[in-house]
Amino acid sequence: MQASIRLLIPLTLLSVALLALPTGSAAAAPPAPAAPPASAAPSASPAPPAALRLPNFDAIADKAVQRVDITLDTSLLGLAAGFLDSSKPDDAATKEVLSGLKGVYVRSYKFDRDFVYPEADVDAVRKQLSGPGWQRLVGVRNSPDHSNVDIFICVDQGRASGLAIIASQPREFTIVNIVGAIDLRKLHQLQGKLGVPQIPLPDK
């Protein structure tokens, strides 16, 4: 009797403690959409150079007809990789691409009118790519339809440690920032899958 009471008390305390714990809400809830990778308060470890400071686009979010706002840090990428089935070719290829990545950040907004978004914010991101380490792979300026596409790669000690894509048109803009060891050949393996085009790679 006393033994069962002795067992009951810690069990009850354990149950109460478990109930009081944040039950994986951080993991269960979708990640905070407006958390730019490098605009947060400075932490103990400095942000990798490939991480861009993305502006807060909350002010224009209501005006957008289509919005993609993705913030995936290392832990979420690891979690996602755990839910990819290696026996499926697409998932296996995606898993390969994800290995070594530290973050994936996407901001993509489409509007029903021209130039609703602040071009200065997009230009501010472009300016960050003029810093050391970043190399432009593709730069397209199409004057008639005002479409610009820039693809940059961050090179650290001879290895690609980040990728940035900035595409802007009168009614939409997209910023993609991938942080981490990017193997372009692994990305190349995704060609034909998930809509990834066939991109000729430069010879080593």
Partner: protein, 152 residues
């Protein structure tokens, strides 16, 4: 308070010996009341007399004659009769069920978070590939138009 009242109160509240007769009466009442008597539990007496003898052989005489006092509640019920073992067993089962439920909930949340992260990865790759495709098409178009111009 006056001294007179004080003295009268002291006199009224002074300890008084109830006397030998009263004490004998109380002790006799205690002895005759079954509720007030401690419950005497004899030792186990199962099995044949030979077995009992063998079992008792290792025990001292004091142990054999030992009685165990079990505390009783005023109405004569022991703790066991109050249903407390059942209560604790039910509580234990509830705790176990709660823990299982929490574990299941945690697992479900983890799975939901993982699937959501997977969906976001796929969406990010889709957007990335869309823009790569756009850049590729524009570059290819420019190459083609340049070739055509040179051809003309």
């Amino acid at each position: 308070m006056s001294n007179e009242l004080n003295d009268r109160l002291r006199a009224a509240l002074r300890p008084v010996d109830p006397g030998e007769r009263f004490t004998r009466g109380v002790l006799a009442r205690i002895a005759s009341d079954p509720v007030s008597r401690p419950l005497l539990r004899p030792e186990r007496s199962g099995g044949s007399p030979e077995k009992r003898q063998r079992r008792d052989a290792g025990h001292s005489a004091r142990d054999r004659n030992a009685v165990e006092e079990i505390p009783r509640s005023p109405n004569g019920a022991t703790w066991g009769n109050l249903g407390l073992p059942w209560l604790s067993a039910t509580a234990l089962a509830t705790c176990a069920a709660l823990l299982l439920m929490l574990a299941h909930q945690h697992k479900a949340q983890h799975a939901a978070a993982g699937l959501e992260a997977r969906r976001q990865v796929m969406e990010a790759l889709r957007v990335t590939s869309e823009k790569l495709d756009l850049a590729y098409r524009v570059v290819k178009d420019k190459e083609l138009s340049g070739t055509e111009k040179r051809g003309v």
